[in-house]
Structures are given as structure tokens and as C-alpha cells.
Amino acid sequence: MARVVVDVMLKPEILDPQGQAVANALPRLGVTDVSSVRIGRRIEIEFAGAPDLDRAREIADKLLANPVIEDFTIHVHEDATAEVA
């Protein structure tokens, strides 16, 4: 079944303390070559019928993302089985 995937990220100018906390923990894993981590949110929407990108964009703009602090991108995820691998 085709799903619409919405990726929501904090705008670049908004501080991401969660991402910073993760970045600061990486040296404990022995990882020392990462300069920045930023955390966002992925939302999958399944429509009853065919995926409606315009409707998905409206949902993202009005509810899923706060345009004051966040940007979003939308794409159709065609093959759900590919993800299992």
C-alpha cells in the first residue's frame, strides 16, 4: 500500500538540544568524527484510497509541522516491503 511520508525537521536556526545531547554522547561509542546531529520526526500517512499529496501537504502545514520552528518535506513511499530488508 502506498503511503505518504512526511519528514519534519527543526529549522536550521532553531537550537536542537536533543541532537546536541546525542552528539555529545557519540565519543562514548568511540565516534569522534561527527560534527553535528539534528533530530526530526518522520510521519507516515495511509489514505483509504490513492495517496493524496495535496491533502498530505495540507495536513503537514496545519498540524504535523509548526511553520514557526519547523520545515517539512513530503514524498510517496511506494514499496512497503522494501523497507523490511
Binding site: E13, I14, L15, P17, Q18, A21, L63, N66, V68, I69
Partner: protein, 232 residues
Amino acid sequence: MRIGVVTFPGSLDDGDAARAARIAGADVVRLWHGDSDLHGVDAVVLPGGFSYGDALRCGAIARFAPAMDSIIDAARGGLPVLGICNGFQILCEAHLLPGALTRNQHLHFRNRDQFLRVDSTNTAWTNSFTAGQEILIPVKNGEGCYVADERTLDQLEAEGRVVARYIRGNPNGSQRDIAAITNEAGNVVGIMPHPEHAVEALTGPSLDGLGFFTSVLRALAGSAGVNAGGHQ
């Protein structure tokens, strides 16, 4: 005067907000998020808590409650509205106030008594204070870091719309130490700390919170020199 206090699923401080309004001398009307009828109230308080479990973003879902549709319309028409903590987050999500509340910069939930300086008394909710007055009320939030773009912050300051700032320590990293702001008309105020928890000597660190509730009663009575729609 009738002050409505809205209860959302996950509201915590609706009882204290109602109690504070009653102590200030108001008749309290409990409003339900699913009811678009405001029952003729003269002002509304959106209380603190975790509406809808903070799902998605704090206040993001509460903003679409039937009661909020009516409150947004009425607020644009001048109805005094005070959003406390989660209520402040809801007002930002509803675009009645600019900016947004984000995770505390240190990532810790912060719960303590907090000094504020009241910077603007030209609002429906702060006319009982004197400009520059220092007050002590509890702050308790995990997502209270106020952010907005530089232009918006400059505009808020230039127009006297920063209502209160944190002093003697910023508990959450809010830009320019902002604890409370108002809209252009001065009838809508959002505040992150909790005035409703500082209205009785037995339970609060002071009685300073009472001023927010007595202010709106003065504004409604028209005796305050400013009115709900007359922000300068």
C-alpha cells in the same frame, strides 16, 4: 464577572486556575474542550498541563478543539484570554501569539519558584502590577524555551509586548529571558510560569499570582485606565 476555565484531556491546573479566579472575586465557569459554546464568559483561562499527552507538539492538537475555535474568534474580537504554561503553548500553536515554546535548553524539567519582572502593565491581565515590579511565582515546565525570529523579538520589545521576563536565572533558555508576551491588542497573554499557584499563603511562595486575575476583573469593570482592547 464570569471567567471560563477550559479543561482539555490532560489538563492539570484547571482546578487551581478556577480556584485562583474565584479567590480574586470572579464567578468561575468550567468549560469543556469539546463544547464550542463559551456560555457567555467575560474572559477565558487556558490552564497548564499536558493536553493530549503533548502528542506531536505541546498544544498542537488542543488548538483544534471545538472550544478553541470559539475562543480564537472571540480573542480576535477582544475577549481577554490568559494561557498559562500549556495554555501559552496552545496560544502560540493557534497563532494568537507569535513564536513557539520548545524543549528546555538543558533538557531537564524545571520546577521551582521563579522571580519575574513585570515589564508591561498595559494588558488585560497585568494592569494591577506596576511596571518593573518583581514577583515570585512557581515555574514548572519541560518545554518552556520561548523562541521566535529576531525580527519578531525586536518587534515584541519595541511594542512593549514582552509582559514579563525571568530574573535571577533563566529556567529554560528562553530567548531574551521572555516569560510572558501579549498580542497587539493586549487582551491575549501567554505566560510560562504559574500565577494560579501563587494565590494563597498556605500553598504558594507568595500571593503575587493573584494580580493576573484581579487585573482582568479591573479591565472588565473598565476601571483600569486601559481596557481589554486598548494596548498602548
